[in-house]
Each structure stands twice: as C-alpha cells, then as structure tokens.
Amino acid sequence: MAGRRGTNPTTYSPSLKTQKTRSTIFKDDWVRPDGRGFQQCRPAFFRTSAVTAASGSAYAEFGNTKVIVSVFGPRESKKAMMYSDIGRLNCNVSYTTFATPVRAQGSDRKDFSSMLHKALEGAVILETFPKTTVDVFALVLESGGSDLPVVISCASLALADAGILMYDLVTSVSLSCLGKNLVIDPILEEESYQDGSLMITCMPSRYEVTQLTITGEWSTPKINEGMQLCLDACSKLANIMRSCLKEATTTSQE
C-alpha cells in the first residue's frame, strides 16, 4: 500500500508548502486565483491542423490546460478483422511525463479513454465508414484542471477537421462544487478541494446530453442549476469551435 511497486525512484521535487496553508481556507468565500467570476469559463483557444501527418488534428489551450488531439482514419486495423457494417472508433488518452506538477510516469489513462469513447460514439455517424477504424489519440501536454472536458471538445474539433461525418460537434464543460458555490471550469487547485463535480458532454444544436458524470452529494435543485449552467456554457463553446473551423477553411482557400 505504500506507493507503487516497480516505479522509478523519485527524483527530488521541492514540496509545495503553499498547499498546507490553503487547506484551512473556507470554501464559502473562495476567490478564484485567476480573478474569474464563479460562472466564467477560461478563454478558449483552438487551432486545427496542428499535426500535418494526421488526417485531422486540433490543439486546444484553456488557461493552463494544453491538449493536442490527432485523428487517423478511416483506415483498416488489425483488431477489426471481423466484418462489421458499422465503423469502429478507437480512443486513447495519455499524459506526458511533464504534464503534472510532480513528474509522473507518462501513461495511458484507460478510464479517460473509455469516457472519451462514450462521449464521441453518440455523435459520430459510424455507418459511413464500415469495416474500417478511426483512431483518436489525445495527448495532454499540461494538466491545469478540467482535463477531460478539454480533451473531448478538442477531439470533436479534430474529427471535424479530419472530415469524419458527425451529427453535431460535441462540447464538454465541467463544474465544481466548493461549499455552497458552483464554480464552472475549475483549475487544478479548485479540483483538489472540490466537494463534488459535474461533467456534462452535449451536442448543442440537438440539445442532447451524450454523457453526464456527477460525483459528490447533490440535491436535485442543485443538479438542475448545474446542468443549466453547463449546457449554456457548452453552446457558447460550440460557437467558438465553429468559428475556428470556419477560419481554418477561409485561410486555406486564400
């Protein structure tokens, strides 16, 4: 139980003393370190065609969270040797070794990969590429909080850049509950003190939720309020993503 077996011996890392003093802070009068309001998301930056070798790719930067996603396909895959009349979607999320404040072994996050798969499979029209596989590889370059929602939004942008047919863009936002406050798009520090979290993935134009994950104790009115906040933020994020895609096509036409 004391640590993982078989890992590299840890190198010296300065302990972050500030964390101990913050742990006694009252969450009810939390002030966000970057000066945002409780219902304000971080400014989003998207860029498509970040990786030229891939069929489609996208890079997203939300404050300190930086993610790059490449899409390869549709192509044949050894795993999908069996005939199937719908396509396969294969998702993989991994962290670099320098993504977290303390150097960790870069590894695939299997749980994030399966959540990314579930978020995207409702939106991708699998019937358009039977017998083949589309691979989505996400790499988190820096983890600054709210990682999975950024990965999901960036992945749907990369799929759009690759030309894979989808019902709608998939956007995702997460919400943290700190004491009595609902804080949208939390950073790493806020996430470590949260009392509960709500992550929603939706297709904004169709107003459909493809994935919803809630942890912590919530009463029904709180869930209602949280969902409304997140859905609103998702639709605004979708507009930003659309304008990014339009920009990319206009610059390529010039």
């Binding site: 139980m1 004391a2 302990s15 964390q19 299997k110 749980d111 399966s114 959540m115 579930k118 499979e121 409702g122 939106a123 509950c177 996430e191 470590s192 003190y193 949260q194 009392d195 509960g196 979290s197 939706c202 297709m203 169709r206 107003y207 459909e208 939720v209 493809t210 994935q211 919803l212 994950t213 809630i214 942890t215 912590g216 104790e217 919530w218 009463s219 029904t220 869930i223 209602n224 969902m227 859905l231």
Partner: protein
C-alpha cells in the same frame, strides 16, 4: 390464394414445433386472435430462435412472392402472426442462462421485448420498476476483513474488503484511502478471458468510484474516510475493495453496489494500539490486536439504481437481453437522505436534459424500496452468519 399461403406458413411452423395442424387451423379461422389455446412443452432457447428465424425467413420469402402477385397483404400481418405465436410460447417460460454480452436476438424477439416494456409487462412477468429477487450472503471469504455475495436473478457477484496499513496521501493527511477494483471472470463469459474483460472492468470500477467515493475533498463520500486514520499524517488504513463478477445477466452495477454495501457492513477492522513516544518522521510502532473491533457504519453508503431506457420507457434491473435493446442507461447512486451521491450516463445515444432530470426523480423513488430491501437482506445474512 392468400389464405392458402398463410396456412402454409403456419403448418410449416407447426410441424417444427410438433403442434397439431388441426389446432392451428382452428386458430387461423379465428383470425389470428391472441387466445391460441395450445399446450406444448416450453421450448428451449435454441428452438425458439430457430422458430423465429424460420418465421422471419418465411415471411420474407412470402412477402417477395406476394408482392410479385400484387396481393394486398401487409408485412404487419405476417409479423402479427409471428408475434402472437411467440407470445403464447414464451409467456411462462424462464430462459436458460446462456446470454451474455452481445446477444443474438431475432427481429421477433426484439419486438417482443420492446413491446412488453411499452406495456409494462416484461419477459419474466415483472413490471418496469420492479427488481428481481435479491439474495445476500455475508462472510463468504474468511481471509478477507469483510465479504459478501449478491445474487440478482442470474447475475452473481462477490465483493471482498481487505484492510492494510499505509501512509495517507500528503494532500489529505487526515483521511484514509479506499480503492475499488472490479474483475470480470471468464466464468461469466468466454470473451472476458485475458484482456477481453478489461474495458468492462475499468468501466465498472470508474462508475463505482464515482458513485461511492464522492468528491476529491472527501465530502459526500459513502464511506467516512476520516474514521480510517490511525496516526494523522503518518499511518492510516487503506481499504481495498475487490469485486468479482461470477455470472452476468445484466445490471452488474446495481449488484456490485449492493455487494459492496453488504461487504462493508460485514467488515471488521482490527484495533491498533500506537506505541507512545514516536516522534518526528519515524514510523510509529503499532500493535494490531487480533480481535476484530471497528465495525463499519454503513448507514451512509448509497445504493446504486440503474435506469435503462428502451424506446420511450425506463426499466430498472434489466437482464442482458433487455440491455442489448437499450438506447442509453443512467446509473444513479442515492443515499438514505434522498440526495444524489453520484451519477454516470452509459450508452451511446443522446438524452434530452429533461429526461435526465425525470430519471433522477424516478431513481429516488425506486431507491427507497431497494435500500430497505437490501438492509433487511443484509441483516438476515448477518444473523445467519452469527448463528453458524
């Protein structure tokens, strides 16, 4: 002309099922009403699928011939024939336990399942919001600190809790640790052998952690982590909850949640005496007594309710056949106070947000009954264990 073709279909069917053609002709003359009073032995599953395949293929061939002849017959008529026959065959029959994962269902069987759910009468006679009978046994694994086995119909899961001493994390020095891990054994399905069951295992482990462990700060957790601390900052108990899926017939998450609840109520953590005089960063000396002491307080542990959406209705405790027809499923964990402790949506299709809120209210209503039932079953199981 048309009636001859219909008769031909039915007689061909009857010869397969060894029904008397006379009774079938009588039934046909009664124009396909549902009260076909035919007594026959309950068909085995393989026979039933043979029948339905025969029906579908025959109806398709009939249809092609009839369309050539330009007869005004509708596909729905032939389907109704097949469904009415199937319903009489399968009403009181319990299907044998050989279904797992991707079940091969014929069109007739799919329509039957969806139609039954729409009419609030499922294949095994339950209503939409009724659970299968639950049976709980505790103390099945003597070497573990706590264990339980839960059976819901044909779904069988075993959960064990082991406690080990270790160091608490530096971010939360006053809390113990809990780790939940699910393993799908190949005895449940051959596709779980080797790495095949990994995806389902990770799925279930993540969903259970999300439902039972609460937020990162530990608030809202079903298990009170601060009761696991021995020496603050230096030593704490770590609970390793390992679950095993022995047989799978749908609704694994609910069964696992119930098994964890039962195992935790069965868990006894040994008392630890800390030697005085330990200072600084040294590991304190501890003496672990052999008498089990701390019994867990499981009144806060939530119960997980999975609502499966088939067509326009929700069902609770789906079998694997019904799960193969689902469009999406939402698993909600509710505690005794009626608060939501966790929620995960599974399944691909999108859901309207209002439907999600409706599902939450239905889950709260169902969870009360399930919680009471589980509590009484666990108490009964513990009583049996104490006697033996």
């Amino acid at each position: 002309h048309f009636s001859d073709l219909r008769l031909h279909t039915v007689t061909a069917l009857c010869s397969r099922l060894s029904l008397s053609p006379l009774s079938c002709r009588r039934a046909l003359s009664g124009s396909l009403s549902r009260d076909l009073s035919v007594t026959l032995p309950p068909p085995r599953l393989s026979e039933k699928s043979l029948v339905s395949h025969a029906l579908v293929s025959r109806s398709q061939s009939q249809l092609s011939r009839l369309s050539q002849l330009n007869s005004p017959v509708s596909h729905s008529l032939v389907c109704r024939l097949s469904i009415s026959l199937l319903s009489t065959l399968s009403a009181p029959v319990s299907l044998p336990i050989c279904l797992h994962g991707m079940v091969g269902l014929s069109l007739g069987e799919k329509n039957f399942i969806q139609g039954g759910i729409a009419q609030d009468l499922r294949s095994d006679g339950r209503k939409r919001l009724t659970y299968r009978p639950v049976s709980v046994e505790t103390g099945v694994i003597p070497q573990a600190n706590g264990s339980a086995r839960v059976r819901m119909g044909a779904t069988d899961v075993i959960s064990s809790v082991k406690a080990e001493l270790g160091k608490p994390s530096s971010l939360q020095p006053d809390k113990g640790k809990v780790s939940i891990y699910v393993d799908c054994s190949p005895t449940a399905a051959p596709m779980f052998e080797g790495r095949g069951g990994d995806e389902l295992s990770t799925d279930l482990s993540v969903a259970l952690q999300c439902c039972l462990l609460g937020g990162k700060s530990g608030a809202g957790a079903g298990i009170d982590l601060s009761s696991l601390i021995v020496v603050e900052g230096k030593m704490c108990w770590g609970l390793y909850i390992d679950c095993l899926v022995v047989s799978s017939d749908g609704n694994l998450l609910d069964a696992l949640g119930a098994a964890i609840k039962a195992a935790l109520s069965n868990t006894g953590i040994p008392r630890v005496l800390v030697a005085a005089g330990a200072s600084g960063d040294e590991q304190p000396e501890v003496d672990i007594s052999d008498e089990e002491f701390l019994q867990f307080d499981t009144s806060d542990v939530p119960v997980i309710v999975t609502l499966t959406k088939v067509g326009r209705h929700y069902i609770v405790d789906a079998t694997s056949e019904e799960e193969s027809q689902m469009s999406s499923a939402v698993s909600i964990s509710v505690n005794r106070k009626g608060h939501i402790c966790g929620l995960t949506k599974r399944g691909g299709a999108g859901l309207d947000p209002s439907i999600v809120l409706d599902m939450i209210s239905v889950a709260k209503h169902v969870s009360e009954q399930l919680m009471n039932k589980l509590d009484s079953e666990i108490a009964a199981a513990e009583a049996v264990e104490d006697d033996s």
